[in-house]
Amino acid sequence: MADLQAGPSQLPPVAPVRPVDGAPAAVAPAPRRTGPAGTRRSPVARVLTWLALGAATVIFTYPLLWLISASFKPRSEVFDNRLIPKSFTFENYLTVWQEAPLALWLSNTVLVTVLAATTVTISSALVAWGFAFFRFRGRNVLFGLVLATMMLPGAVTMIPTFLIWNSLGQVGTLTPLWAGNLFGSAFYIFLLRQFFLGLPRELFEAARVDGANNWHMFSRIALPLCKPALVVTLLFEFQAAWTDLMRPLIYLRDSSTFTVPRGLKALLDQFGFGGDWHWELVVTASVITTVPMIVLFFIGQRHFVEGIATTGNKG
């Protein structure tokens, strides 16, 4: 498991605040460079590089712009593929708001998302600290087990998990969508443990001399120093919980309990296929489902990028 040791060394031991230059701290302390040195590029190669990057930018942004633009078009023009609507209307938003209990769906989703993200962050941090700080017999075996659970396809545990919630009478409620997070999640335990391992041990030995107990060392020293990793965990889980469709499909029955993605699927079934052909409403509901995630991304951009780059360092 030497690969796990690669993590901490790449993160500054104590760096609650990082420079906002957009460079993920997890990447490299080396100075920024513009490409492999020694390969001085011809102007032609430079132009081609920028053309390719420009084309990629269009491909990656255009579908979202198309979607947002279409949500402001009247029904007959949704498919006209213009970027700027010929006739601009806000009608779709009003209609979809009347046709579907969107406010309810949004508040359900916010509730699930906030509970899922906070519980998984707290529990995973506790567990990660248990694995990072203490030395005890059986630790490596247990941690190996944590990693092994990541390999297990969700389908294997999906049915018995449903039966557990069913026997507890929770099917049809929002509980199964988040309560499992009370017990931590292997991926975040792994991620947070890597951050904790980067903290200098002297810090905690000094604190112990000053009379700090195990709980204080965790809550007052380790947690504040690992704020960036906690934010990454919160953001990742927020996104995962917000966008999940499979669990709402399994657990939610009544339209009043739907999350937004589940509701969006219901709207698609009703207005997309179901003979009514109101694609403008489906498009508008898609925008309402997607925009909160885009806002989240622009708020936590740097953390998303750092979190992803750290994940890849396992390789």
């Binding site: 690969d3 993920p24 990447v27 490299a28 460079r33 513009t34 492999p36 040195a37 020694g38 390969t39 990057l53 255009y62 979607l67 593929n81 529990s123 567990v127 600290w129 248990g130 694995f131 203490f134 659970t149 390999m151 396809p153 389908a155 294997v156 545990t157 999906m158 049915i159 449903f162 557990i164 069913n166 499992g180 017990f183 931590g184 335990i189 391992l197 041990r201 996104q239 469709l245 499979m246 499909l249 399994i250 993605p261 969006l264 699927k265 698609l268 997309g272 179901g274 694609w279 489906v282 898609s286 489902t289 995630m293 989240l296 951009q301 990028v305 780059a309 890849g312 396992k314 390789g315």
Partner: protein, 323 residues
């Protein structure tokens, strides 16, 4: 703080002989550790270990949630190998994974190589490439139907510029999977970020000495860059393969569910979708459990094969590879 402060997991000191007081401390540390870990232990027992055992048992039964499980031995597994829909869904999933994973990794690599040359602007492009990843998979499923619409979708409109008469992506069975694969490439932003991070970790000295030796750009990429980032490439192949075998939401949204009476969808019946239908639409919980175990075994075999094959290609810096 001194820069050589030992991290929590430093080199292990030689084992000292314990005095009684130390032994007590050890016991205390163990108790504290287990307390911290206890949420995971409880979760593991309730939501992993028990489900794994019970799922294995269910796979040997007929179970519809209402009546008690009825033991049928290996009948579910026998049925599985004869069910043409299972074979179809497995075939669809293999095709999807076999094409989408290499495409995903290659395109990500090309974009990362481009980004590595973008200098100061790379931060901007990294953001742009990651943005689609924020789109909920349900919305991506809907985008498949809209953008790949055969008559007036954006994709065929674009192809029209070049005089190409685009296919009916969402209704022609032979074009459904290609459409889904193309759409899946839209969300490869996280792979680009991982590869870019790996590219920036390649030691500059290697490029410097290649320059001295007069290597050209192509040779540098092939002989230095690719071997140095092969660990990350391999990581992406593994996780994307595992994800590919479990692909569900986009295809389910676009082609399944109560509303769909207009689209032919056999070509989009992926294994996870069929499993979901068996479990929660037909309430064949025993059969679905057997399907889940077969999926597990397939993913395991494929991953092991990939690991064995990778030994020949993946280069790890010395000291960074013993696990």
């Amino acid at each position: 703080m001194s820069s050589q402060a030992a991290p929590l997991r430093g080199p292990r000191a030689a084992k000292p002989v314990l005095r009684p007081g130390q032994r007590r401390n050890r016991r205390r540390a163990r108790r504290a550790a287990l307390l911290f870990i206890s949420p995971w232990i409880a979760g593991f027992l309730i939501f992993t270990l028990w489900p794994v055992i019970y799922s294995a048992y269910l796979s040997l039964t007929d179970y519809d949630v209402i009546n008690n499980p009825n033991f049928v031995g290996t009948a579910n597994y026998a049925e599985l190998f004869e069910d043409p829909k299972t074979a179809l869904s497995l075939r669809n999933t293999f095709i999807y994974t076999a094409i989408s994973v290499p495409a995903h990794v290659i395109v990500s690599l090309l974009l990362a190589l481009l980004l590595n040359r973008a200098g100061r602007a790379s931060g901007f492009f990294r953001t742009v490439f990651y943005l689609p990843k924020m789109t909920p998979p349900v919305a991506i499923g809907i985008l498949v139907l809209l953008l790949f619409n055969g008559q007036n979708g954006l994709v065929n409109g674009f192809l029209g510029w070049f005089g190409i008469d685009g296919p009916a992506w969402t209704t022609d069975p032979s074009w459904i999977k290609p459409g889904l694969i193309l759409m899946s490439l839209w969300t490869l932003g996280s792979s680009v970020i991982i590869l870019l991070a790996a590219l920036r970790d390649v030691p500059q000295e290697l490029y410097d000495s290649a320059k001295v030796d007069g290597a050209n750009s192509f040779q540098v990429t092939r002989s230095i860059t690719l071997p140095m980032i092969s660990g990350s490439l391999f990581f992406l192949v593994i996780i994307n393969t595992i994800a590919g075998f479990q692909t569900f939401t986009e295809a389910y949204t676009a082609f399944f569910g109560s509303g769909n009476t207009t689209y032919s969808n056999d070509a989009a019946l992926f294994y996870s979708i069929y499993l979901f239908q068996q479990a929660f639409e037909f309430l064949h919980m025993g059969y679905a459990s057997a399907m889940a175990w077969v999926l597990f075994v397939i993913v395991l075999i494929v991953t092991v094969i990939q690991m064995v094959v990778s030994r020949r290609f993946v280069y790890y810096e010395s000291g960074n590879n013993d696990g």
